[in-house]
């Protein structure tokens, strides 16, 4: 069995569909980097997997999501999908107050006046929205039910695994904890522009930060 076929099988067993061209060049690159080394197939698998975690799926364009997903009013995804996160945002609060909390955490005098009308609600819960891609299609996924392992500081370009069946409504994947697994990784080119702080700033048409602050 050729090396590329066995690596491909390994990835398939993890529900990851690869472009043959990218796979070949990745193996070739590995061999050039490690001349005269006797490596096992497991070593090669994990080397290629590490590269895939850092890959921008939009550079290889292997569609795995059903076409026109964003236009579907209601549909179910029944397979397993490994996708790339472009960025994440919290849609339960105004972007401006989120950005101020990041940019001026202590400096601002809290001039919210103490004796305002009491709030009806005990505080709204976080709802993260992830913008995802399979490399071809862009799609949104919302934290329909709380997903504790998902954090606002997840790195742009991270790879995630979504396991169906899961509902898609109006182009939103309605995520619950059971659907989501974080695989890790990042995409260097979008680390800065898609950092949490800069996504907020861009949406508000405010200047972006070349050294964005890490959020918790």
């Amino acid at each position: 069995m050729s090396e590329s076929l066995s690596v491909k099988r390994f990835f398939q067993s993890h529900h990851i569909t690869l472009s043959d061209y990218w796979l070949e060049s990745c193996i070739q690159w590995y061999q050039e980097e490690n001349p005269n080394v006797n490596y096992s197939i497991e070593t090669l698998n994990s080397a290629v997997y590490e590269q895939w975690l850092l890959l921008d799926l939009r550079d290889v364009e292997v569609p795995i999501l059903p076409p026109n997903l964003a236009q579907q009013k209601k549909i179910s995804l029944n397979n397993v999908y490994c996708l790339q996160l472009l960025y994440v945002q919290d849609i339960s609060q105004p972007k401006l107050s989120q950005l101020q909390k990041i940019r001026t955490p202590n400096v601002l005098v809290d001039s919210s006046i103490t004796d305002q009308e009491p709030k009806f609600y005990t505080g709204s819960k976080r709802m993260l929205q992830m913008v995802l891609t399979d490399g071809v299609q862009q799609i949104e996924a919302i934290e329909y039910k709380p997903i504790p392992l998902l954090k606002a500081n997840i790195k742009p370009g991270s790879k995630i695994k979504i396991t169906g069946p899961v509902q898609v409504r109006r182009g939103q994947i309605m995520l619950e904890s059971k659907h989501l697994q974080l695989l890790g990784g990042e995409v260097e080119e979008i680390l800065i522009p898609n950092a949490y702080e800069n996504v907020l700033a861009r949406a508000l048409r405010l200047p972006e930060n070349p050294h964005p602050t890490n959020v918790e």
Binding site: S92, Q93, S112, T114, Y121, M127, I142, R169, R170, L206
Partner: protein
């Protein structure tokens, strides 16, 4: 100490007795803070039998009467000052603006002296004390009053070094209170007076140094805009201005954002109950619609929980100064400065207790019954006062703050001859008093939790059982809200289940009440001075009023604050930190926990260091000012202050 003075007094008077062969009548000089106070205290102590004569100052009369002190008959001479009698000033060589570099003002010698227009008052005291064998201080019982007392003592002991001195302590100008003060004369409190001295000296040095720096420089840098402008600085004014600018900037920088929510209600028998979505709102239309779709596919609502509980609306806490200022500003639309002026007048007339207090706990020994009884004759709130008595009251709600000097503000006498704002403030103080000694309003609240396709909604109903304090406290509202009777497990179809769109709105400009709340929260000034500082930034035109209610910064005020903030927020004169630290130290001096000289030295050093940073980086303030004034800074030599 007390007894010793007393014996001294006797000895002196015995000598007088021997020479004059008359009754041993001791003569005491009594000094109040204002003429009105002197007049009313004299009237009460003499039971209306005092005689009046002129002093050297037209405004400060002298009242004489007989009374008994320490069990002995005594002749009382009662007069007054007009607030502070002495002032800190730099020695003459530093007074001219060009006489020195402003930084020298942190060390320049200062003297405490009597300004020319108060010289008549001082000379009255000097003349009268010669005839007296004792001095009794009747100035207001607060920090400033204690310091004014020591100013009087200084003037009098310069003439008669060993004269015994006593302090009368009172919180209201009523017969009971002034007689109690006279029967329990104590000693003035040096710590409190020392704190005021340190504050005054620091205010003089920092005020003069930064005012000269700002004025001398910015007049030259912006000759077209500021050439004849005094650009004053005050360590309370600037943080106060800072609050106004900060809020204004928050509004300027505000970006509105659309949001959506799921609206649900249930109409039955002409009553519509609105339910609120527990997620409240989402800032993404698609996401909100997606969830609405889920609800609309299975719209039947199931009642999951019905909470039923008694709910009370609390009567107000006993009234302190900050609360008085805030409520008068909010509900009566009378600003803090006017409110305090009126309150002081009501106090000197004996109608209310001392209006400068931080206390919101009624002391146990204060009998509230007669105070409530006095009000029963009124046809507006009299029946309520009667009800308080009939229902086993008064029963004050108690706060947690006490300044150990004055009780909460309360009416001391019934009045029905007041007009205009005086009447409105008096009425508010009476209604507040009656409210805080009555009972909380009682109600019954129902909270219904329902589920639609896993989304949670809730509605609240309120049934008012007893209005209690709300019957007299017309400034509060509590609205009943009808709701259907729901049972757990019951289901219903929503009458409306739809998407509602809305937009976030910017914060509001600050009102005076907001500004006072911020000053209190961040320790700028004291309850006695909030109104003054707000007034100062208005007079300096650092801020103006929009629609007569909302504070907006002027361009000069904006530029200054932004400039100082740019230099560094920790050292910014427009931020509350520096002043708040200072106020904390002053409190420590009052309580005897910190030496006034130490505080004085440390605080001077702190502000001198800030002065250094400001002069080094003054170009940044030029720049910020230029932005706001829309003027290009005139380049100057390297010196911060042009020669």
């Amino acid at each position: 100490m007390h007894l010793f003075c007393y014996l001294n007094v006797i000895k002196t008077s015995v000598r007088i007795l021997c020479t004059n062969q008359a009754k041993p009548i001791m003569k005491y000089l009594n000094v109040a803070e204002k003429n009105d106070a002197a007049k009313n205290i004299a009237a009460l102590l003499s039971r209306g039998a005092s005689t009046r004569r002129e002093g050297l100052s037209n405004y400060n009369k002298i009242y004489e009467f007989d009374t008994t002190i320490f069990g002995q008959p005594a002749r009382m001479v009662m007069t007054s000052v007009s607030g502070h009698l002495l002032n800190y000033e730099f020695v003459t060589t530093y007074r001219a603006w060009q006489s020195c570099h402003p930084v020298a003002l942190f060390d320049a010698p200062v003297v405490k002296q009597c300004p020319a227009n108060y010289d008549n008052i001082k000379r009255t005291l000097e003349r009268e004390i010669r005839q007296c064998q004792g001095l009794i201080i009747w100035t207001d019982c607060d920090r400033e009053g204690e310091n004014i007392g020591f100013e009087v003592i200084k003037v009098c002991t310069d003439i008669k070094p060993n004269i015994p001195v006593y302090r009368a302590k009172f919180s209201e100008i009523t017969a009971a209170s002034v007689f109690r003060a006279l029967n329990t004369l104590g000693q003035p409190n040096k710590n409190i007076s020392d704190a005021v001295d340190v504050r005054q000296e620091l205010d003089l040095r920092t005020g003069a140094a930064f005012t000269r720096l700002q004025t001398l420089r910015f007049q030259k840098v912006f000759p077209d805009k500021l050439s004849d402008k005094l650009i004053s600085y005050g360590s309370c004014q600037f943080p106060t201005l800072g609050f106004v600018v900060e809020r204004y900037n928050a509004i300027e920088e505000f970006v509105p954002e659309d949001f959506w929510r799921i609206k649900m209600n249930h109409t039955m028998k002409d009553l519509t109950v609105d339910f609120n979505w527990k997620r409240d709102r989402l800032f993404d239309k698609n996401a909100c619609e997606a969830i609405l779709d889920i609800c609309q596919e299975n719209p039947q609502a199931t009642v999951e929980e019905v909470e039923s509980k008694s709910k009370s609306k609390w009567r107000p806490l006993p009234l302190d100064t900050v609360e008085l200022e805030k409520t008068a500003s909010r509900k009566l639309r009378i600003n803090a400065k006017d409110t305090m002026k009126i309150a002081e007048k009501l106090y000197t007339q004996g109608l209310i207790s001392y209006p400068r207090t931080e206390t919101n706990i009624f002391p146990r020994e204060l009998n509230l019954v007669p105070l409530v009884e006095q009000q029963t004759v009124d046809n507006r709130w009299g029946p309520f006062a009667q009800r308080v008595l009939n229902e086993g009251g008064p029963n004050p709600r108690q706060g947690r703050k006490s300044d150990q000097a004055h009780p909460p503000i309360h009416p001391t006498k019934y009045a029905n001859n007041l007009n205009g704002n005086e009447q409105r403030i008096y009425e508010y103080i009476v209604r507040h008093f009656l409210a805080c000694v009555s009972k909380d309003a009682m109600g019954h609240e129902t909270v219904v939790h329902v589920d639609i396709a896993d989304e949670k909604f809730l509605a609240k109903g309120l049934f008012i059982l007893e209005r209690n304090y709300l019957d007299v406290y017309t400034y509060d509202r509590w609205n009943a809200k009808e709701i259907h009777e729901y049972r757990v497990g019951e289901t219903f179809m929503p009458s409306n289940l739809s998407l509602a769109e809305s937009t976030t709105s910017p914060p509001k400009l600050l009102t005076e009440a907001d500004l006072i709340a911020l000053m209190e929260k961040y320790g700028i000034g004291t309850d006695a001075t909030h109104a003054e500082h707000i007034e100062t930034i208005k007079t300096r035109e650092y801020v103006g009023l929009h629609e007569n209610i909302y504070f907006v910064p002027g361009t000069l005020g904006m530029g200054l604050v932004e400039g100082y903030n740019r230099i560094g927020l920790e050292v910014s004169l427009a931020k509350p930190n520096l002043r708040a630290d200072f106020e904390k130290d002053l409190k420590l001096i009052c309580d005897g926990h910190k030496n006034p000289e130490t505080v004085r030295r440390e605080q001077i050093e702190k502000y001198r260091a800030v002065f250094g940073i400001v002069t080094e980086r003054i170009l940044e303030i030029d720049d910020s000012l230029g932005n706001r004034l829309e003027d290009r800074p005139r380049p100057l030599e390297n010196e911060a202050i042009p020669q």
